[in-house]
Amino acid sequence: MTCHDVSEDLLALAEGRLDGPRRAEVDAHLARCADCREAVAGQQDVARVLASRAALPVPDAFAARIAAEIEEAGGWYGFVDWRWLATRMAPVAGALLIAGIVTVEREATTTAVQTPGVSLSQVVESWAGGEGENAPATSVLWKQDVTDDSMLLTVLASPADATIGGQSDER
């Protein structure tokens, strides 16, 4: 029998929990193995020293402080297990947050589409303001009954130097 074979029994042996035939086998190994004898003795020595550790005195009024804290938290909210509650409610809070964000986004998009303050013609006029009268958008603006749609089509379809009605900038 080797040291490895008995290694898992040394703790039980040191604590007097090893009996029967197995005890005899381990004892036989220890009789010829100083290292294993030393290991068992070490286990017993350390256990004995640790068992002799005198307990520290409890701080003054330790129990009274606990009683006071329990008394202070006497309301129902003091006894709610907030950690437990937070864990259980986190998914609900997350879902509500996402729903709120989606709602706000949708509201903002709708408002932007419906806002009548600035028309496309005003935007294009501003954009084309630096191009002079020959700019396509400016040409469109001279015409009557111009709509946002017709002006957009003109701007997109015309070459950069073209004007409405086939007029050319070229001279």
Binding site: D45, V46, L50, V58, F62, A67, F79
Partner: protein, 191 residues
Amino acid sequence: MQPDPDRPLVQAAAAGDRDAFGALVLRYQSRIVNLARVMVSDAADADDLAQEAFIRAYKAMGKFRGDSSFRTWLYRVAVNVIQSHLASRSRRWRLWGVTRPRDDQGDVAAELPSPAPSAEDEAMRRQLIDRALASLPSEMRAVVMLRDVQGFEYAEIAQILGVPIGTVESRIFRARQRLRPLLAPLIGVGR
């Protein structure tokens, strides 16, 4: 299975009897405070954690179903509180790049009290033991504290820590091997 000696007090406390819970605090305060003091090097932190363990236990009394003894359950609450503290402290140290302060044994032999034990040496002896324990990883420290200092059975330690009995036994064995050279100056005393 033996009846839980704390059962009458536990039942009364669960029904809202604060005096009954106070009696349980008095019964276990020394053990829980000493466990916390060994597990956490800072005494003020340890006392706060012990207090927190009792308050958390009080709040959770309604959830205690008696599957284990009250003592085992209370220790489990305390160990969870302490381990959470150690884990968050460790995270803070990593975050700030701080190396773990060594609560190690230092030069134990140099501070050893005289071989003849006296009443005034008791505190010094305890300090040396605690410093040796502080050099262990927390999971080893917990098992030797529960087994060798506080006298729990292996099955109970396994329940408290939520690990198999075999794990408890191997941690005990290795922890004692590590402690032996650190406690060597004390081992000769009173042999």
